[in-house]
């Protein structure tokens, strides 16, 4: 508790004045008002309404502003506990510990911070820790840079973590709130990452339509998990004595394999909850087109503009926006692209992780050419013209 709040005996945490509402009502029916705010501010407004118990922060550009804002929210009483951790391994470990206590936990990071915390992060799903990590994508050093680039997403793809990729400020607000609800479902009980492209979204303003800050999500129920919280409220039991759990000094191969299978099955099970809040896991524009642009994150906005300009020129180009990277909406993508002839995959990274994901989904199932690009990285922006040029080439 901060000094400013400690000295006021009659202080009432503002979170206590908020009214808990049904999340589906909040998403689909509650009146909304629109504000012109930055992505970081949209993050703050989502956190304000998310009924967070504990937030643990560590600064890194371009994320710092968000967790600073979380600090102010703590000071106002919207978050119950908050501290600045030692660095990302410490923060990601501590937030995992907090989730295991059965409380709603939040943190945020970016590029190099994500990589530093990766050992802890990649262990969250196996520990079945519902929590939300907001990830403001940034170049991974070196050479040192703080510019936007979402290569880090590729490192999260096979961890068993739920992962939504926000296109804009509005998505960042909506996806973050949805992520808390989805991650805490009993048949999910997994951590969720909400990624957004740094600077392009975090430091730029956009229209964000939000329900009233007088409302908040229901609290986390620490008794409702796929595995018990580490609260010693269950009959004591030895965790690793008997075969087949304990083989030699380590867990048996079969136990470990089935544990992993269950984690990845839970990722798939989460799809129905994401749909409950976000609608379909992909957005499709011009579904009957022959040439498609498939993208996620801020790149979708440039693709959207390219599709619009193509339309003005009398050419129909399709667009698929992928909202959740994990669960990967394989069936929806396949259905949307079954008649496609050419597919462009613009990305803000060098490796082309989205292109690879798409190829592995579509391989042998459709005949379209899946074009690897255009790609920009290292902090470059992607002018709509690049996508238009690539579309022109693809048509030849």
């Amino acid at each position: 508790m901060s000094q400013s709040t400690q000295i006021k005996a009659d202080w009432v945490p503002k979170g206590d004045l908020q009214e808990v509402k049904d999340p589906e009502w909040l998403f689909h029916e509650a009146p909304r008002e629109t504000e012109f705010i930055t992505g970081s501010e949209a993050a703050r407004e989502a956190i304000r309404r998310a009924n967070v118990d504990i937030a643990i922060s560590y600064p890194i550009t371009p994320q710092s502003e968000t967790m600073q804002q979380a600090g102010y929210l703590y000071d106002e009483g919207y978050i119950k506990d908050y501290y600045r951790g030692e660095e990302e391994i410490g923060v990601m470990s501590a937030i995992g510990g907090a989730s295991r206590a059965g409380v709603r936990a939040l943190t945020a990071t970016a590029g190099p911070g994500l990589m530093r915390g990766m050992e802890a992060i990649s262990s969250w799903p196996g520990a079945r820790t519902p929590l939300v990590l907001m990830n403001m994508c940034r170049v991974i050093n070196t050479p040192l840079a703080i510019q936007p680039d979402n290569i880090e997403i590729s490192f999260l793809l096979n961890t068993g973590i739920l992962h939504a990729h926000a296109e804009n400020q509005q998505d960042f607000f909506d996806y973050t709130l949805a992520a808390f609800m989805v991650s805490e479902e009993v048949d999910v009980t997994l951590p969720a990452v909400v990624s957004v492209d740094g600077f392009f979204v975090t430091h730029a303003r956009g229209q964000v339509s939000m329900f009233s800050q007088d409302y908040k999500l229901p609290p986390r129920d620490g008794w409702r998990n796929a595995v018990p919280s580490m609260d010693n409220e269950n009959p004591p039991a030895r965790i690793s004595r008997d075969s087949p759990i304990q083989k030699s000094n380590f867990i048996s191969y079969h136990m470990h394999a089935s544990w992993q299978q269950e984690v990845f099955a839970a990722v798939e099970r989460s799809a129905k909850y994401w749909r409950k809040y976000l609608g379909d896991l992909i957005e499709v524009i011009n579904p009957d087109a022959e040439i498609f642009v498939v993208s996620s994150g801020a790149c979708v906005s440039q693709a959207r503009e390219a599709v619009r300009q193509e339309g003005e020129a009398g050419r129909k180009v399709g667009l698929i926006k992928i909202k959740t990277i994990r669960p990967w909406p394989k069936v929806e993508i396949l259905a949307a692209l079954k008649n496609a002839k050419k597919i462009l995959v613009p990305e803000f990274n060098q490796a082309g992780w989205l292109h690879k994901e798409l190829c592995s989904t579509l391989y042998g199932l459709i005949t379209a050419e899946i074009i690897a690009g255009p790609r920009v990285y290292g902090g470059m922006s992607m002018p709509t013209e690049i996508i238009l040029e690539w579309l022109a080439k693809a048509r030849k």
Binding site: I89, G90, S93, A120, M230, P236, I239
Partner: protein, 293 residues
């Protein structure tokens, strides 16, 4: 009140494994056990795969016996020999990533405080010297700087035993071990002084030569951590394998090392002293009143 979570409901008791029923009926829940009772009641940890003659095993067994509220305790650890036995105790155990124990414990303790504001939930980190002072150093120090209210116990065998005998920060200077082929070049890290500087309110150096003293120390550390601040116990728990101590000589080694360089040291701040004095005074009065009845 707190024991209600472990007591079976009437009618269901006979359905539970005999081991669980024994634990409730003949275990240490709701009472304070003495060293002299060792082996005569259902202990929280009974089986383990530790090496024959391992001093760490004895020490951990004593720690479990000393826990003031085992029904509301969560152990946190990391890779190392200790977790092989800690994982087999009837206490929830978070076996985390490498060296993450004090960071995990920080989040866990705070989360438990939020969820159970009217019930003490004791968090006890028990990890090896390498896990805490080398790979876990940053988390260890910062949990102390932040005055996190949990106990840290270093199982100091002065070597990476579990990975096959490499030198650690707690190894003595000059010792020839794996990864120190010419002998360790720098001094054993003075973790006790670091604990003092970093803000621990109760700090102990101990060898497992006096079981009653070990238990009293653990109890003090856990109780003080609840109310006052971080507590640290550094225990000499030799590795008879890597240091080639013959099994029958393990306890003699503990006595020798204690006499030579690992003597019992207990430091506490004034706040911690005032608190524990009061707690122990009340405890004695209660025991006297019980004895009179």
């Amino acid at each position: 009140m707190s024991l209600e979570t472990i007591r079976p409901s009437p009618g269901f008791e006979e359905l539970l494994p005999i081991e669980y029923r024994d634990l409730i009926k003949h275990g240490q829940y709701g009472r304070e056990v003495k060293v002299s009772e060792m082996g005569k009641f259902k202990e929280l940890v009974e089986e383990h795969p530790m090496c024959a003659g391992c001093a760490m095993t004895l020490f951990i067994r004593l720690v479990m016996m000393a826990l003031p509220n085992p029904e509301h305790t969560i152990n946190v650890g990391t890779a190392g020999c200790g977790r092989l036995i800690i994982a087999q105790a009837n206490i929830p155990f978070i076996y985390g990533n490498y060296g993450d124990s004090n960071s995990v414990a920080s989040g866990l303790k705070r989360g438990l405080e939020l969820r159970f504001p009217n019930q003490f939930k004791d968090v006890v980190v028990m990890a090896g010297d390498g896990g805490l002072i080398d790979i876990g150093f940053q988390g260890l120090m910062h949990s102390w700087f932040r005055r996190e209210k949990f106990t840290t116990i270093m199982l100091d065998n002065e070597v990476y035993g579990n990975t096959g005998g490499q030198e650690s920060g707690m190894t003595l200077k000059g010792k020839v071990l794996k990864m120190a082929p010419r002998g360790k070049e720098v001094d054993k890290i003075d973790a006790l002084s670091l604990a003092k500087v970093a803000g621990c309110v109760y700090i102990v150096q101990i060898a497992p030569t006096n079981p009653s003293r070990v238990m009293r120390t653990i109890r003090r550390a856990v109780l003080i951590a609840r109310e006052v601040g971080p507590t640290y116990i550094q225990a000499y728990t030799s590795c008879n394998i890597e240091y080639a101590i013959p099994t029958p000589d393990v306890m003699q080694d503990a006595f020798d090392v204690e006499k030579d360089r690992y003597g019992f040291e207990e430091f506490m701040t004034d706040d911690a002293k005032a608190y524990i004095t009061e707690v122990e005074k009340k405890h004695k009065e209660l025991a006297k009143a019980k004895a009179k009845k």
